[in-house]
Symmetry: C2
Subunit: 382 residues, 2 copies
């Protein structure tokens, strides 16, 4: 084949790809107009946008169809899930309002990142919602005196002070907070307010587009019957609720938040002081190491106050970190002695402790890296 006829053939095939991809754009447009109609219909009938059974059935049906046509089942599933993410978040311009008798919702700290998520969701459900920020704090009593629901969404280090300084609320007003520690704020709320109280910890960052498929931890305070509608409203927004008590929650947080942030902080500090060529480290990293490095790097693009507050406010921190530190030193001893077999024995013990979860983590992380790779995430700095 001559080179020019090769070029012609390649160009012709590429034009066919372009045509197919343009058809895809049209198909996405059509699908989106249908899901918007579904969203409207559902919001009129107070039905949740996310219906796990429907999602599962839809995916199963298209997987079989794809495989029968020689198309990868994983490919169609990944594309469908990506389209669904888009439709979940464009479908719900409106959500149904579970409790139309609520006349006034106030989000204290509602201009902050997490506060905004709540403000938007309440607005989308046609609640009358307002924001109280520090500039207006001197008029707090005017904003709060007739509120039916007050949500505290201020930084963790001032949460308890803000709660203690609340003006008198209506006896049937619901008082809730959304801080990542639960015991102290819950106690503070129960003390300052005699009506219904509930502690919430939304298990997602402010980047999460809404509450669909997200977990919200619920710690009962008082008057559950009165705030039941609020839990139902969050479920309608797509949240899964996880009920527990505040002590259990905070104890787990020491392992999750404090340990990880502190270790990551030290690791970043260590790199800075060792001062290797960052550019070279990245170049020499396989995708999984780039992911590990990214998990360190991401900390340092965020506000130090937030992390300082989380680490310094948890009572269990110091003792827990000291135990970690002495285990680290013990492991170095193994290495110095060249005791590979003890290392492997301890490795196996930890593997046993993780059980099936370890394999699940391995599988999930592999799939994540493939997805990251599709989108050129975790690549080198250009």
């Amino acid at each position: 084949m001559s080179s020019s006829s090769f070029d012609q053939q390649l160009d012709a095939l590429r034009s066919q790809i372009d045509e197919a991809d343009s058809e895809l754009v049209k198909l996405l447009q059509k699908r989106s107009s249908i899901t918007k109609q579904i969203g409207q219909l559902k919001s009129q009938h107070a039905l949740p946008i996310y219906v796990p059974e429907r999602e599962k059935a839809l995916i199963e049906a298209r997987r079989s169809e794809a495989e029968a046509a020689g198309v990868s089942g994983d490919l169609i599933e990944d594309i469908l899930r990506r389209m669904m993410r888009d439709s979940y978040h464009s479908q719900h311009a409106k959500y149904a309002c579970i409790n139309p008798q609520i006349n006034k919702v106030v989000v204290v700290g509602g201009a902050g990142a997490l506060g905004k998520v709540f403000v938007n969701l309440f607005s989308q459900s046609a609640y009358s919602v307002s924001v109280l920020e520090k500039e207006d704090w001197e008029h707090a009593h005017l904003h709060l005196k007739d509120a039916d629901l007050v949500i505290i969404a201020v930084p963790i280090n001032i949460t308890c002070d803000i709660i203690a300084a609340l003006p008198l609320l209506k006896p049937d007003c619901i008082l809730a907070d959304v801080t990542s520690i639960k015991n102290a704020p819950l106690q503070a709320m129960l003390e300052v307010h005699k009506g219904p109280v509930v502690g919430l910890h939304p298990m997602f960052g402010p980047d999460a587009p809404g509450m669909i498929k997200q977990v919200v931890v619920v710690c009962q305070g008082r008057g559950e019957a009165q705030y039941k509608w609020l839990l139902e409203q969050m479920q309608l927004w797509g949240a899964s609720l996880y009920h527990t008590n505040a002590e259990t929650h905070d104890h787990a947080m020491a392992y999750i938040q404090v340990m990880r942030h502190f270790s990551t902080f030290v690791y970043g500090r260590h790199l800075q002081q060792e001062n290797p060529q960052l550019q070279e480290l990245i170049a020499f990293s396989s995708p999984i190491y780039r992911l590990e490095l990214a998990m360190v790097g991401r900390l340092f693009a965020q506000a130090p106050e937030l992390y300082a507050d989380i680490i310094f406010s948890n009572q269990d921190s110091v003792a827990l970190l000291k135990r970690f530190s002495s285990r680290f030193a013990q492991a170095i001893e193994l290495l110095e002695k060249g005791d590979k077999s003890a290392f492997m024995e301890q490795f196996n013990q930890a593997a046993e402790w993780f059980g099936d979860y370890a394999q699940l983590c391995l599988n999930d992380s592999k799939k994540m890296l493939l997805k990251a790779d599709d989108s050129h995430l975790l690549r080198q700095l250009d």
Copy 2:
């Protein structure tokens, strides 16, 4: 609207979604048959499958088209990239052969995970490739005496011994290894063989489907002109090459592999000894913490030997880990003293060291989590 008319409306809209999704399956089938033709055409002309400029232009064109049609540009881009991943890996049943004069390639350890990747790629390029495994080691000289290229792909802890025990190779045979340390194997290869020698470190795990878009580190040994075709062949398979020297490479690896594996090992061991309820930790974790936990858990689904070898074989390990350990202890002191401002100052210094990379990590990890969420990755154990 009556409830039954609502059900009818919802069913009708859902049928429309199903129809649109079936159209999508057909579109994927059509696209795949076109990309297969492109793959064949390219392999006949020894052209690379992955052409960054074409990919970029294609995505830009469809993004504009989508946005003009009210469809999210990110949505179409994500779907196109996912389709391209699929087509890269189904397109290349065959790759062109850069050097048809090579009569025999032998991969020592070619039955192992990484070895297999090379065996497959050489086969797909029509090289005659064979595998030498430990069962056949006693006949090594028969397998290797007429080889034109020998690739050592055995576990890291036996790499140098295997190299030292190699039988005499043809003077023009190329000897290469693919171990994750480079200095010792390269020295061993230069000693045992007087012909062309090159050290390679493929920066991807054995799960990577082929070499497309992956980085391979190249450490020159001797006779570059003679192994140049091998580098070109890897580029045709889609690899990006990164040239460096073995010492620089190994030094960086101490930071990347040893530090991360060792810390992760200690963290897993720490959790095992603290023995919190794993199920509860997972339930209480937001997506980003689940990702952090998954990066720990995944280690323990893998072979302890591999990690023991990596950690125990790097000479820089002990001193580096001791410096980390003492920095960890210093940070605990800050916490005990309640010195939040020193913590924040050090945080800011590390942030400065990471520079723009921190923000990039934050952005990438956010996007990754959205993708993980689409596919229900990193969710709780059911």
